[in-house]
Subunit: 534 residues, 2 copies
């Protein structure tokens, strides 16, 4: 690899003719980092200048930084490749943190490039001075300030190496302005640190033994055990052993639909009893790139762990290991490799619903219209808790959930997914409360004409919190408490908001109008927003 | 004070009848913290329940956390009192950081209450788990996780004590859910740590000597040297010594208008040459609650310090000392205390402009219509660089600038200012690029019917960055670079965006329409947005 790199440099003969910023951009492109989600400021102008010169990297502008890092998250989930982001100093990074948090929990790799003052200017206290490394650290796996323009490409390659690890990591590279404008070094090929280790045979045999000990077991799938290939292997294991298969509460990307596995998620935020009930019936737990299931929040007199202390739990494969190979080995060990997979969803769409809109009919409408190969980005919070049964027999699609719990994840992730997969339709399921956190996303969707149909579930309340008041033991909340959870004073008029940012939009209040709007949105090549009043 | 507090507790007899959250809310109210800017989640439900019960604290809901901490900043500037904020876990705090950064640089005190999982739940890795203390630390002066419900009111009092220091500080109190719902302790009176020290007589004499050594001098005013009282004292000193008076580049709150001092600010971001030219003529520098002037950014071949190395600089008074008393002592020492102040602005409004809109005519329109006692929140970036001369003779008003440089400051600060001063009109000068960062503010303005007239300067570009490309030495930027600084693809239609969030709005494209809209907005009791195309 070292030789190949040197050869390439030799051919380019660009050493010392370029500045640090250009050496970094060329290093990104050389390592197949082809997108930069950007919101630049003064300190990043040389990086912008370099993006201008170097072909092979798409620049996507966002009006708020949480849009950018969320988009990088969505991009990684669908392309399995890290994107870069460009952020303006400490406050720009601050704005990006909630989306980075979600990406980190989803194991999405990204390379954050954060502009910084010149090293000399850092010695004076100016308005934008802040401790960027300290701001980056809590949400990053790797943080470095590049202090020499000649080393910038090397530091960039290190960031890329980290971001590409299995599973993906958050790399934050801080770029002082003078490091960007000083003389640049070689273009560097990043080390490949993304190799997944194989699971030991002993462990495979141990798991096989548990699955055949006569007691009921359930596989809990997570991470890349949710690809079509891996889930079908899990289906074979279920055919052979009779085990159940469920997924973690939130999945970075779940392959599902007709001909794929039909699995339920562990119920998530706000419904701990439902989760406890599901796991109570699950028997022995086999973790497949997943973690022992825990509650979303701690509640008075309710457990944080969702399984009983005496339940046997075994780990088949870790999230950073070779998952398909572990499942294959287990299927072989069980003699299940040639079985037909269990739990396969049959192609079947629900009826097109009519009349007033309910949560059940919303699920039917989505199941009835979901286009083949769609990417569903799900931030439907309370509304969409039970969308799975009615959509399981729809054409094959991917379903993306929020693993970090920081709301405002949906719109940015939809942007990244659409950019990663320009030939696929993105269906975004969004709450009215959660959508407002990163509402600036709509402008980027319009600017890039991204193929996203946005469903806003306008219940005009932080509905989840109404339930949570009761869950934490607050009976009969007074008017001021209820008012704090209400979004109807004033109503958010999503059609106006969307139009204001260049996105076509419609409001619907019955199933007929909803289905008609879905048909329009799905047919359209570009963003389309449907505000659903129910 | 200790005795007074115990007496009060005795009367209330509420010990052990309340939970931790209520003990904290009662401690806030007992210490005159009467506003909570909130965006609660599950972990904060008991705090919401307590806000419901306890009178004397106004809850203001925001749809994004940067709105809340920015509002607390504006509230402090106008009331000189800290507000509390309620934020949901690490990501909620992350969203709030950029506005906290600006508040910190403006010396605005605030008490951030950040919900956290129960201590037991922190032992499992759940979606929203993050290192909240680490996220808080870079932008806070004081950080503590309260781990015992009985100690929560004591920890709250400590947070209040810090926030009220002179100048204001950022206190971040992390509130685990079980600390909120467990048994609460006494209501605590916070120590008064806000006492300002007096400047030494020796220093007063030293500054007097410099001001009378026959060389030209300039006072640079900052912090609370910008109150009407302090600036008039500075004016007397100028009458006596002939010294110039300017302010820092950005002021947390500057008293100006007819009958008050007419001062220029040091030019800020993007125009370092203009700043250097002003300071080149300033002679000896006397700092009055200000810092030695530095450039906003470092640029190639331009200095970070705005004054020459051999220029004498003396410090009259620090930002945390007794500023009025220092200026009084200096005026007495100089024999200036009975002089009429110099540089007083005469009451004079500019003509009402007509025809097409230019930056100069915008300044005239504002000067011609600014209502008495207005609060001008200025995030006009490039458009408003020269708004001062045309507005100096308008009726008395306060002018608030962004001291932290993190954009998106204007709308939230306007909210806080309007809540602190319900009898005063807030005029918000906002760029179209910067306004989008915290656009969710509009909803809170509508919800609270805040008396804010919002002027959006829709130049449809990150205009400041166009200049900065040249400033950092990038000649002839290519189309991709220019595209990254452009906001016209698509246009943001601010009228629709505002209406979508419940705020009445108009678009204007000539001076006649602008003046008419200003008259409507100023007359209206509530928010009104004017999108100015020019």
């Amino acid at each position: 690899m070292g030789i190949e790199n040197k050869k390439w440099i030799g051919t380019m003969k660009i050493k010392s003719k370029i500045n640090g910023a250009e050496s970094l951009v060329r290093t990104l492109v050389h390592n197949d980092v082809n997108v930069c989600f950007a919101n630049p400021g003064t300190s990043e102008m040389h990086f912008v200048g370099a993006l201008d010169k170097v072909p092979g990297i798409r620049c996507v502008l966002g009006l708020f930084e949480g849009v950018l890092t969320g988009a990088a998250d969505g991009y990684y989930r669908m392309s399995r490749k890290p994107a870069s982001t460009l952020l303006h100093l400490g406050p720009g990074l601050g704005n990006a943190l909630a989306s980075i948090h979600n990406a980190k929990k989803a194991h999405s790799g990204m390379i954050n490039i954060i502009g910084q003052h010149t090293l000399q200017h850092l010695e004076v206290e100016s308005p934008l001075t802040s401790d960027i490394e300290a701001i980056a650290r809590p949400m990053s796996h790797w943080v470095k300030t590049s202090t020499k323009s000649m080393d910038l490409s090397k530091d960039g390659a290190k960031a890329i190496e980290y971001a590409k690890k299995a599973p993906g990591k958050i790399a934050s590279l801080i770029l002082p302005a003078d490091t960007a404008w000083g003389e640049g070094g070689d273009i560097i090929k990043a080390k490949n640190a993304g190799i997944r280790g194989k699971v030991d045979e002993v462990n495979i045999k141990k798991v096989a033994k548990i699955l055949t000990n006569g007691k009921h077991s359930t596989l809990i799938l997570g991470g890349e055990a949710l690809t079509e290939e891996a889930t079908l292997l899990a289906g074979k294991i279920s055919s052979n052993t009779g085990c159940g298969i469920i997924t973690e509460a939130a999945n970075a990307r779940l392959s599902r639909g007709a001909g794929r596995l039909d699995m339920l998620r562990i119920p998530g935020a706000g419904v701990v009893e439902r989760a406890l009930a599901m796991l109570d019936k699950a028997g022995q737990l086999v973790l497949v790139a997943s973690k022992p299931p825990v509650a979303f929040f701690g509640y008075p007199n309710k457990p944080s762990l969702l399984y009983k202390e005496n339940v046997p739990i075994v780990n088949l494969v870790e999230v950073d290991e070779d998952i398909v190979s572990a499942l294959t080995d287990l299927a072989i060990e069980l003699g299940a490799i040639n079985e037909l997979p269990n739990h396969i969803a049959i192609a079947k769409r629900p009826e097109r619903p009519s009349g007033n809109i309910t949560k059940e009919k919303l699920a039917m409408a989505i199941g009835a219209t979901l286009p083949e190969n769609a990417i569903v980005v799900d931030e439907s919070v309370t509304t969409g808790r039970d969308f799975f049964p009615a959509t399981a027999g729809a054409p094959p699609h991917d379903w993306l959930n929020n693993r970090g719990g920081a709301i405002g994840y949906g719109m940015p992730v939809a942007i990244g997914a659409a950019i990663a997969c320009p030939d696929r339709k993105v269906i975004l399921l969004e709450g009215d409360g959660s959508g407002m956190y990163t509402v600036q996303s709509l402008w980027t969707m319009a600017r890039e004409n991204l193929d996203i149909t946005i469903l806003i579930f306008a219940n005009r309340t932080y509905e989840i919190l109404r339930g949570e008041l009761t869950n934490v033991g607050i009976q009969n909340p007074g008017p001021r408490a209820v008012d704090m959870l209400t979004l109807d004073r004033p109503y958010i008029d999503w059609v106006n908001v969307a139009k204001g940012m260049g996105v076509e939009a419609l409001q619907v209040n019955n199933c007929e109008k909803l289905l008609k709007a879905l048909d329009v949105g799905i047919k359209k090549d570009g963003p389309f927003l449907i505000e659903i009043i129910f």
